[in-house]
């Protein structure tokens, strides 16, 4: 394992709701090794996007970081002044949004928007910026001639490439990609993911890839962080978490998705039920109400992170029995019976 480059510890993000507040992210810890792609995976509402946005410190009006640290290259992002944080934005931490359509300003050309970052944030002169624009477009495989086009003139996949070009403009150290391929069809998804991985290897950057789609993780990520209801359920290398999932939620998640090659690995089985309300989370393990393997202790005691093998953690009271549970989780009836 290479050196740790970003280290998130006990991160807590809360939303003010009415007079109270709820914790959308509650004690999340994970590491991003330098030059790797870490997949942050989970159902919508599990807090994965909130974590991603917390790293940029640009959040919804009613959201705030209420605890924990985010050590980025030796600096704690949670403790930086707004001024110092802003200096890091885009120069060191860039972002690829889910929908490039809505994330590019519709009234300016793509070149204008690239120039804006290159000149205002990168301090490049006119000629340098121009050269860099062309370089970036070549890098992501779009004709240079299309620089003068408006965002709506690109196809969905092309726009996502523009978003990648934009993110790489200032040679950042970390790129956060929030569901970068969700809106695209499977073939284009693969092209974009291939490109993202090639550029990541070539430039040696680190990537946090937020997705609900476990097949995307399987396709591209080095490490996986599985989130459930604001907690980390399981984390480890991609191979370990996907081939030997040790948390019942990860086992269920694997059953619920086809892989990106298109071949379904058996029958697709959804996990019955819905994630708990974060305003009033259940005591103990948050997955217990939906878990086919829950036992008495699950309903009252929050499970600790158990290291099932070196570098592979699962927050489950029964993590020790994982191989046996995995076997049972393969059967559709296991998930149906609990409904």
């Amino acid at each position: 394992m290479t050196e740790t480059f970003l280290s998130v510890r006990d991160l807590k993000v809360s939303y003010r709701v009415g007079r109270g507040s709820l914790d959308a992210v509650d004690g999340v810890s994970f590491d991003v090794p330098r030059g790797s792609i870490v997949g942050l995976v989970g159902e919508s509402g599990c807090g994965k996007t909130t974590v991603a946005r917390a790293l940029t410190r640009v959040m919804a009006d009613n959201a705030f970081i209420s605890g924990g640290r985010m050590l980025f290259d030796g600096r704690d992002l949670a403790a930086l002044s707004e001024r110092d944080m802003n200096a890091l934005r885009w120069r060191e931490i860039a972002f690829i949004p889910q929908s490039a359509m809505n994330s590019l300003d519709p009234v300016y050309t793509v070149e204008y928007q690239l120039n804006e970052v290159l000149r205002l944030r990168g301090g490049l002169g006119r000629a340098q910026a121009r050269k860099r624009c062309e370089e970036l477009f070549e890098m992501v495989g779009i004709e240079v001639g299309r620089l003068r086009d408006y965002p709506h003139q690109f196809s969905g996949g092309m726009r996502q490439r523009v978003a990648i070009a934009l993110a790489l403009a200032l040679n950042p150290k970390l790129v956060i990609a929030d569901e970068p391929v969700t809106a695209l069809d499977v073939i284009v998804q693969r092209q974009i993911l291939d490109q993202l991985r090639d550029l990541q290897r070539q430039l040696g950057i680190s990537v946090i890839l937020v997705t609900h789609d476990i097949s995307v993780v399987a396709y591209i990520c080095d490490r996986t962080v599985v989130m459930y209801a604001g907690h980390v359920a399981e984390q480890g290398t991609m191979e370990a978490t996907l081939t030997q999932p040790s948390h019942p939620y990860s086992m269920g998640l694997r059953n619920a998705f086809p892989d990106l090659q298109g071949a379904a690995s058996g029958v697709l089985t959804p996990i019955e039920g819905a994630p708990p309300s974060l305003a009033d989370p259940p005591p103990g393990c948050r997955f217990a109400p939906r878990c086919p393997f829950s036992i008495e202790v699950c309903a009252s005691v929050t499970p600790p992170q158990v290291e099932v093998e070196p570098g592979h953690f699962a927050a489950c009271h029964r993590a020790g029995e994982a191989p046996a549970l995995r076997e049972r989780a393969r059967h559709v009836s296991t998930w149906m019976a609990e409904a």
Partner: protein, 325 residues
């Protein structure tokens, strides 16, 4: 190419609307109670004048034939003779149009400059006490009769304080070589101030409310959030991205507002004795000067319809998404 085609079909559509309005007007003036000839021929005209007009408007012919003669005359800009002034209606209207346009545009430019800035400010201060107080106040300005506002301003600033003249565009006996010389004279500004202010106070509500709600919507857009994640300055985010997008529909509404303003002018010009189209229409109707009334009405309708077209064009011009797709 589709860009041009859309513009052409819109133009054609508005030409049809104009034709319909012209026809409605023809019918109104013909089907009114009383002598149909009275619409065009004043009994006090000389016999020769009466006969000339009879021939020009074909008043002895059947109705449908008169209709085509009327359309033909209109196409040539022939609007008949004013009863009161004994001069061609077209000339008189063209002489008054600049006064109305100067008043309309100066008041609207003030209203939009203020409304856009104040609207953006209120969006920025969303939920504050300032905003809570400002919105009902703005709605109140929309609820005011414009002429009443004009009366109050006149009573205070002209009759009481004596800061501005009570009406007209120039002092008695003042002569100017051209309209341009008049409009650029300092004295003209003192005449323009009160009527323009009256119309501006009434008109600022539309751009203000529109700008505010657009800003609130745009600030929630992903590209604004992205601009923040890019670390761009607050000014760049709010002005270059949010305001630039929020402005689109506001600018389009300017053209529509010109049309509405012309209607409001009818009363405000009367309060301030402003020699414009609206006051002329009122005077012509009061004096039963039908050709003049009809001409003034047509001119106002023409500007309203043209402005609808301009609004469409502005929209295609300002928004790159329209017309390329």
């Amino acid at each position: 190419m589709s860009h041009l085609k859309a513009a052409a079909s819109r133009t054609l559509q508005l030409a049809l609307v104009l034709w319909a309005v012209v026809t409605i007007l023809f019918l109104m003036f013909r089907l009114m109670p009383g002598n149909p000839l009275a619409a065009y021929i004043d009994p006090t005209f000389t016999v020769e004048q009466q006969e000339a007009l009879m021939a020009q408007f074909g008043l002895d012919r059947p109705l449908w034939e008169q209709y085509f003669i009327y359309l033909g005359n209109l196409l040539q800009g022939e609007l008949g003779q004013s009863f009161r002034y004994r001069e061609p209606v077209a000339e008189r209207i063209l002489a008054l149009l600049p006064n109305t346009l100067v008043l309309t545009f100066s008041s609207l430019i003030i209203a939009y400059a203020f409304g856009i800035l104040a609207g953006a400010y209120l969006a920025w201060r969303r939920g504050s006490a300032v905003e809570q107080a400002a919105i009902p106040l703005v709605l109140t300005t929309r609820a005011m009769p414009e002429f009443w506002l004009g009366m109050v301003l006149l009573a205070i600033f002209s009759f009481w304080l004596g800061w501005f003249p009570a009406g007209g565009t120039r002092s008695a006996g003042a002569e100017f070589d051209s309209l341009f010389a008049l409009y650029t004279s300092g004295e003209f500004l003192t005449y323009l101030a009160l009527p323009a202010l009256t119309l501006a106070i009434y008109s600022q509500g539309l751009p203000l409310l529109l700008m505010r709600s657009n800003m609130l919507d745009v600030m929630k857009e992903d590209f604004v959030t992205m601009a923040r994640i890019k670390g761009l300055s607050n000014w760049t985010v709010v002005v270059r991205h949010a305001a630039r997008n929020a402005l689109l529909p506001v600018m389009t509404s300017f053209a529509i507002a010109v049309g509405y303003q012309l209607q409001g002018n009818v009363v405000v010009e009367s309060v301030f004795s402003w020699p414009g189209l609206g006051r002329e229409l009122v005077n012509a109707v009061s004096a039963s000067d039908y050709p003049l009334a009809q001409g003034a009405f047509l001119m106002i309708a023409l500007v309203v319809i043209l402005m609808n077209l301009v609004a469409d064009m502005l929209y295609t011009l300002l928004d790159p998404r329209v017309g390329h797709a």
